[in-house]
Amino acid sequence: MRHWRTLVACVLITSVAIRLVPGLSYRQPYGFDIYDLMSRVVPALTAGKFKTDLPQGPLLYYLLSEFAILGGASLETISSFLAPSVLALSVLPAIIYTKKAFKDEPAAIVSGLLAATTNVIVHQTGGTVVWEGLGTLFAGFALTLLIQTNLKDPKVIALLCMTVVGTLVSHHLTTMNVLLGLGVAALFLTARRGIRSREAYKPILLTILLGVAALSVWTFVIPRYTIEVIGLTAANANVWTLLGGGALAATAILASYRAVTAKRARDLWTTRPFTLGVLVFAASVAMPLLLHYSGGINAEILMTTLFLGVPMCVVYVPLFVIGLTSAINGRIDGRLLTFVLAFPTACCSLTIFLIFQPGLGVLAYREVSFMLYSLLPIEGLGLMEVVRKGTPARRYIAAFIIAYSILALASTSYPPRSYLMGLDETYRPSDLRISEIAVNAILSTSPIDTDIRIGNVILYLSGREVNWVSNVTYWTSPGPAWLGKSAAAGRPLDIPSNVSFIIFSETMLKSNGGVVVDLLSRRLYPLPDEALVYLERKPGVSKIADAGTALIFQVMRRQDEAAPPKTKP
């Protein structure tokens, strides 16, 4: 294709541009997790070694440390500009994956554009600097190598090992997705060709090897987090949730297997893409509304689903239907189709399974980005199929419609709090300054109550030398203190004896549409406005710092404590 390199460059520019929106707008890191991440890097830069566990995988911590040491820039600058730009490279494997899978360069560019701009993919690969971004980058390269027919070539095998190990040391959930995807591919190939076939044993072998490596890393290298989440899922589940989730997850796998083995698919929709798009739009609006009015989801989740889900469904579902139909009817190699479908199938099954597990259903959202990412080849093929069947005039109109859809996808990458269940991932300078004052003025042993949003900042600013009483060490949280409990109760409770300081932000307040940010596995509640009035009028609770949007309160000597003895010379 002419202009191939120019188009790839444009896709890269788009990818970097959309991921730099928060950095250039606010000139500081975006999202909660980055401050937790930086808080573990700070001691390494000063003491020369990491003092704490490196949850999820150590590679991103090493990378940030090396950028800081070699580049000489501050961690904030790196996390605002450099890291998002590096994670924006995750569009490259998406382009290569599609190009290798279907030998279709225009489809590869479409895949790249979608990887660059799809809201949930942007959010997880550079929009916020999280472990998943690096994991997806490596996993993307692993997928491009896995679909190669020549897995005998030692160079391919060596590269595949490198990318799989890269995924493993970057992010645990992405590793789990790759592992399950390999398992599903092995299952499909075994069912089609038999366990002794050459095509089947390699994925089986790879699944076993990666499974053993992953278990070893999760048990010995990054203990606690991954195995703990699996344990908690199991502990919270019961036989019905496990059976229900398992049965529906198996249904998704069976449906996918049917697609892989189908000789022909009805191409009803390939000639009516516009009708399909309109129907999907109507369904993507109607279904969440139906769920909301039947009591299945609350208003906050409804808004989030509509804001993020509608543009995503309108673009992805029709293109998937058309792309898959085209792949089946185009007699694409069965092994290839198996691999292309195995990874999204694995993510879809895990999503369904997680939704059924009590307390951890909300984690399912983390699966969506990798599911969409691994679907990109079919999406690219689907769009190009529509374009090829259309007339020149329709192609011309389609270019504008798809470009506007891509803008709609991109512009929903950073939802405001009203569309994100009250979560505000942007930090205002006044919030950061009040956290800095707290860290400088409050002794590291004094117990502080705040939420995860501000808590991660004080962990970072203090190099984790701060006594944050409601600290969430991922899944081993002692639970919320006064702020979280008052929010959950819907009224101000008595301040518990283990709290000396309270850092309040207006992003927690109900009247501002905010919430006290807690683990996403718990329900998030807004802090009632009465709680702020309570703090301002409660005898013994002094207001010692005020930055407009954020405040610090100090609980002085308690009413039930004895007065200090009066000393005289």
Partner: protein, 202 residues
């Protein structure tokens, strides 16, 4: 224009349009996000740390020494009137300083990015008790004795020192309690609750 528009033309048009749209979105977001302007006010003890837990349990004559610090991030020089008040029983008014007695007002000018630290030494020099009520009759603020009359309960930290910043507004031609951060109005005030214990301090 559309005649002969082949798939390669399509992909070139789509890519360029998408890139331009996303760059426009980036530009719009950057230009429509003004930097936040704000004022920070906080109080610490003389050594720069938060007050100790017992610092506000005072006897008559005990010195409460604090630094009230004001930071200006308003992207302009500001003139501030810092009011120091004492208050007793809470009024029903939503503003905590309502019913408080003004002890002192200081006017200061703070440059953009600048900080002003004002040392405050507060001493209750005269008070009387009657039953469960205590009446503070005289306060010494930075060496100046000020007669007051504030009543409160004898226990449970129900007396307050309040520090309130008023900022000069050129349009209104007076000091006003609110400042705007670019989106919303805010006011800056601090409050220390204290308890007057029986006996005379050291």
């Amino acid at each position: 224009m559309a005649a002969g528009f082949n798939e390669e033309d399509f992909i070139i048009t789509l890519t360029i349009l998408s890139t331009v749209f996303v760059l426009c979105f980036l530009g719009f977001q950057v230009l429509s996000t003004p930097p936040q302007r704000y004022v920070v006010m906080y109080l610490v003890s003389e050594d720069g740390t938060a007050l100790s837990r017992n610092a506000t349990a005072l006897h008559l004559g005990d010195r409460l020494k604090v630094l009230v610090i004001l930071e200006n991030h308003m992207a302009r020089q500001i003139r501030v009137e810092l009011d120091t008040l004492i208050a007793g029983n809470l009024s029903s008014s939503p503003a905590p300083w309502d019913g408080g007695l003004r002890l002192q007002e200081q006017v200061l000018t703070v440059d953009d990015g600048g900080t002003s630290a004002m040392p405050m030494t507060l001493v209750v020099t005269r008070a009387s008790t009657e039953g469960d009520l205590i009446a503070v009759e005289e306060i010494e603020l930075n060496g100046v004795k000020i007669p007051v009359m504030v009543e409160s309960g004898t226990r449970n930290q129900t007396l307050r020192f309040i520090f309130r910043a008023l900022i000069w507004n050129d349009v209104e031609g007076r000091y006003v309690p609110e400042w705007n951060d670019g989106q919303d109005d805010h006011s800056s005030w601090l409050q220390i609750w204290f308890e007057l214990l029986p006996g005379v301090g050291i």
